[in-house]
Subunit: 384 residues, 4 copies
Amino acid sequence: MKQLNVGLVGYKFMGKAHSNAYRSVPLFFPDLPAMPVMKAICGRDQVGVEQAAAQFGWESTETDFGALIARDDIDIIDIGTPNNVHCEQVIQAAEAGKQIACEKPIGMTVAEARGMVDAVTKAGVKHTVWFNYRRVPAVALIKQMIDEGKLGQIYHFRGTYLQDWIVDPDFPLVWRLRDEIAGSGAHGDLAAHLIDLARYLVGEFDEVVGMDKTFIKERPLELEATGLSGTASSQKGEVTVDDAMLFLTHFKNGAVGSFEATRFATGRKNYNRIEINGSKGSLAWCFEDMNQVQFFSKEDDARHQGFRTILATESDHPYVGAYWPPGHIIGYEHTFINQVRDFVTAVANDTEIAPDMVDGLRCQEVLEAVTTSCRERSWIKIPG
Amino acid sequence: MKQLNVGLVGYKFMGKAHSNAYRSVPLFFPDLPAMPVMKAICGRDQVGVEQAAAQFGWESTETDFGALIARDDIDIIDIGTPNNVHCEQVIQAAEAGKQIACEKPIGMTVAEARGMVDAVTKAGVKHTVWFNYRRVPAVALIKQMIDEGKLGQIYHFRGTYLQDWIVDPDFPLVWRLRDEIAGSGAHGDLAAHLIDLARYLVGEFDEVVGMDKTFIKERPLELEATGLSGTASSQKGEVTVDDAMLFLTHFKNGAVGSFEATRFATGRKNYNRIEINGSKGSLAWCFEDMNQVQFFSKEDDARHQGFRTILATESDHPYVGAYWPPGHIIGYEHTFINQVRDFVTAVANDTEIAPDMVDGLRCQEVLEAVTTSCRERSWIKIPG
Amino acid sequence: MKQLNVGLVGYKFMGKAHSNAYRSVPLFFPDLPAMPVMKAICGRDQVGVEQAAAQFGWESTETDFGALIARDDIDIIDIGTPNNVHCEQVIQAAEAGKQIACEKPIGMTVAEARGMVDAVTKAGVKHTVWFNYRRVPAVALIKQMIDEGKLGQIYHFRGTYLQDWIVDPDFPLVWRLRDEIAGSGAHGDLAAHLIDLARYLVGEFDEVVGMDKTFIKERPLELEATGLSGTASSQKGEVTVDDAMLFLTHFKNGAVGSFEATRFATGRKNYNRIEINGSKGSLAWCFEDMNQVQFFSKEDDARHQGFRTILATESDHPYVGAYWPPGHIIGYEHTFINQVRDFVTAVANDTEIAPDMVDGLRCQEVLEAVTTSCRERSWIKIPG
Amino acid sequence: MKQLNVGLVGYKFMGKAHSNAYRSVPLFFPDLPAMPVMKAICGRDQVGVEQAAAQFGWESTETDFGALIARDDIDIIDIGTPNNVHCEQVIQAAEAGKQIACEKPIGMTVAEARGMVDAVTKAGVKHTVWFNYRRVPAVALIKQMIDEGKLGQIYHFRGTYLQDWIVDPDFPLVWRLRDEIAGSGAHGDLAAHLIDLARYLVGEFDEVVGMDKTFIKERPLELEATGLSGTASSQKGEVTVDDAMLFLTHFKNGAVGSFEATRFATGRKNYNRIEINGSKGSLAWCFEDMNQVQFFSKEDDARHQGFRTILATESDHPYVGAYWPPGHIIGYEHTFINQVRDFVTAVANDTEIAPDMVDGLRCQEVLEAVTTSCRERSWIKIPG
């Protein structure tokens, strides 16, 4: 069987999620045109990266990204690093002729994202962005249903991505709370997913107006930067990103949208919820019940209309037939497995894959317009 | 407008619910062929009954049931007393030629119930039983849907009526916990409703096997019998009814049923829930969300099937158009208003009304068969 | 018993809801310091108002508002008319020394609302506004819980009031879709309730930015103006109000808020939903399940935290002990009964009542600021 | 690192689930005292078993079970075959000194199960049974909570395991519908899980009474026995197992239980739901929302009690810290990964593991008592 050798950079949360996807895809999707091979994992800390390689099942390690992309035995570069190095790594990987899968948001600025699109376009490589929520079977089913006209004309998009992991004021100043590394807070981390889902399901943004908020302005410094749950020091530093971001939008097709991303919604853990209302029906989905689609149809008998819960685990639902019988639900990690399946298929067959870097750029344009709107306190037009 | 004068006996929980129904029906159903007039309320305690008359809006009071039924200005006798006096009161009222609405369960025994049916039949009066849950709009909608064939052949009925108001072992020995007054515990109080709903929606019972349980065998005596929340004494008495009753059934049409009624389901307040599975679909309902029907249809597009929540508040749903616009929910008391509407219509127009005393008898037969099954530890055939 | 004579103007949807409340309050709240008497109902159409009086139980009718307020036997004037006449009627009633209960939004403009506040203040009468959702027991419980500190510092308010009754483009141009009568569309009708709840539960607004949308710009004229479900003509007219209104806010206390009101959310009937996130917990409520409070507490054992559904039907929950035993839910109309209970108590005892006209004015200020924001496409500061 | 070589027999649904578990456990549980090695997979069809080995990642294949257990390089035998061969395979594997993991129900009869217990006991090997639902994090959390006394004295267990995959009368006569292979229908397949959960969470059964039902008595023969979704022929054969099984129980500790397992609950896909009510609280769980625990506590403030939804994805919940951050749900397959983790730990450390064959026997005793009860139409005592 044809093989595609993968080199992954980053071995924390996303590194684990991506690794698991490569490791599991052959069992669930045995008929792929090519299979990914877990060739090399890269990280600056040698001990850490070797431990990750052993745990996740990578054949070799690199501590230098340049060395990784210089290897001839690597076909795909997968980028799971913090946001401030995506741009440089993508451009280098493209120049090295690698196929690219990059975490979101793809860059710190629209300018970075444009550079990345230029680089991958010039290099003629395949590229995708890990907006993994598109690959929830329930979300893919929603996309199908919209494309089939189940909603008619779309009027409303309503997206909230709610978490609560930094409500405690003593939670330390991890990299995701520092502008120079993360670029933004809830905005790039959470709203980016909502924006991508809105573009995927509704269409392009026309203009936005937004507001941001940082509720806790200082936090303990980390003793050691150990990821999300770092240990706190007694010294404090300034939080330089948003805790919450809210914005409104007009879509180009006349629909209107409301967006809210926050890390201060006590009790909401990964509450990535969308609702779309159209002239013929409505659809809703929430990650915390990720296998379920809520669907209301005006085409049902008038006396028997209601929001129905479709358990998206049937064999004729997207992706999910590869897993277990109906009613046997899947979880977060399967979104990555599904995306690996689609990306290796696209690379092997030289076919289209979405979302790609252009989608990453479009998302970045909206993210940046919202940020500008917050700063200038005005409506901002999305370019293009 | 034609009027029907009502005399109500009983002024506690059910007395209040019935009174409110007579009081409210003209506002919501102005086009009835006759309107009930709240003529007299009857109870043994003069102070209590006068207070009730003033509060609920009855024109006069009686302290003697014989005096009530002797009155020429009373058309309808409504019986909201404890179970041990229903039989005698119904028979007397029938002999006096009154139309009769009786609380459930109609009697203490099948023998009593047969006597009541005989009496009302001989007297040729209209009669109904307050199985009020049939008049929840959502339940009436379920009945419509079954009659329209939405479920196909019925395979399963699953009924649980769960409460928790006597979980505390210090809750006193109120009349509902004394066999000589209540006849049974959760069985006649709660399971009776499930049995009636099962007969209404599925069909007649063929045979049953059951088990009962009294978890707390002694409780403080009441200082004063003041209803459900009586004050406890330091002396104890024996609980002579079931705390919980469970049984299984074969229906005559081949469906099977599971029933559970209990007052020991901590956290369940009035959790009267049914689910019916058929060859073409399923329907479910729970009183705690009484305005909602759960409906699954195999006739929906295969990829889009799911349990849908029909909010039974549309103008073309049963009863509910009389109240408020869609989405403006109604509550417990409206089931009584709806039944008053139907009963006065039946009396005024001399038309059929269900459930009637025969339904009360059928329910009593199942109740008694279950009780016999518990005692004899065997399957018991339902007569007829 | 002391009595308070009521004169009601308006006999459609709100007229029915208010009438039912006066009619039912004695049965459920027998211990009130005074009881309302349904003295007179007023409307311009004599046939209509007489039919309403008969159906709802009013002692007399008036066809002229001036005549109504001139009557010596009227203590309370209740205003359930369209928005464009509230101001004039409130001022006249105040000048006549009547106690006043007025529908929301109280006026067409902030200027009107100020005039109304001035009039009632000068007259020294009691006044309330029918922001009836404050009197849902679950909402009143939420207020208690916030006041007790269950949420800690509030970070987020999220309010959506979603309906779908005009999704059909052939739905006619009823008065609620005409600016000169209604003043606005979803904004004054639905967002007004959200604004009042946010002020009640979170605090005062600081500034807002919003957007409005009219999806269907022309609709068939009504043949006859018969309320919400008017009959359509073949001629069309312009819709002059918003179909949807979205806005964001900073509250004065540092919380942020997101608001959305629409009549184009297919499948949502009366989906008035709020969620509040604080440093110690979260609370949520939706009218379609109006008896339920969602509560998350960080004070629960860390391993056992979760959103809990409090069924607000216990005897120690606000208002609801007056009705039925635990688990026996109540409905929309009970919010009006509860408000009548509180208003007659305030009038009889000369005590405070909220919401009053000042609350109505504050709401109007926010409504108008949002409208200005939509027109000027900018953030607008709330006065005061 | 220490290794434990596994030989698996069976490569259909359970074969895939078990294989995935061995394959994934090192990534999620890197600190295990030993790691399973996927040494050999066994099945009678050489082509099929080789395809499975390639897909799932097994190092070698066997087509003869005797050859498998004869191999010195196999430590653990995992049995994922149909029920009629479990007994023989377990006994052979025990005699060969292998550690054993066996699918449920362990045998066709109590006699078989006793033989299996004797064999493993005599051999002194470790043994476990794939009652995988004990390893849902939410279920393990429920067990913790009960052990901590959160429920007090247990009164009620209520278990329903509802599926609908054979509602269509044209669904063919697969092995699961044939008594000689499956031993029973919904009973051994579904009720076995409920019985195990009841024993795990409540305690031992005392006596049972039950009823079974086969709604569709004849079905098309399979053209080729290809598992659950076999292709139908035009010839028919008799269904020799139950479609549904219902039973009631007294537990030895005084609790009562209601059980229902069916493949005819239209719309229910893998609706394995339990609810337990105790003197201090209640707990409920349903597989279709497998990451959620429903918990009601009488120890909460009286005004704020309600069923809360604990999303069992926190790092201090059982098992789940090994996977993803809070709110990132897991699925069906993780129950097997968790059980592999526990079984290899028990084997490596020579510690206790539950459920084991004795649990399998206890379950079989209840299954058989229920079957006897159906046949004899009477209550049946559980031995022991």
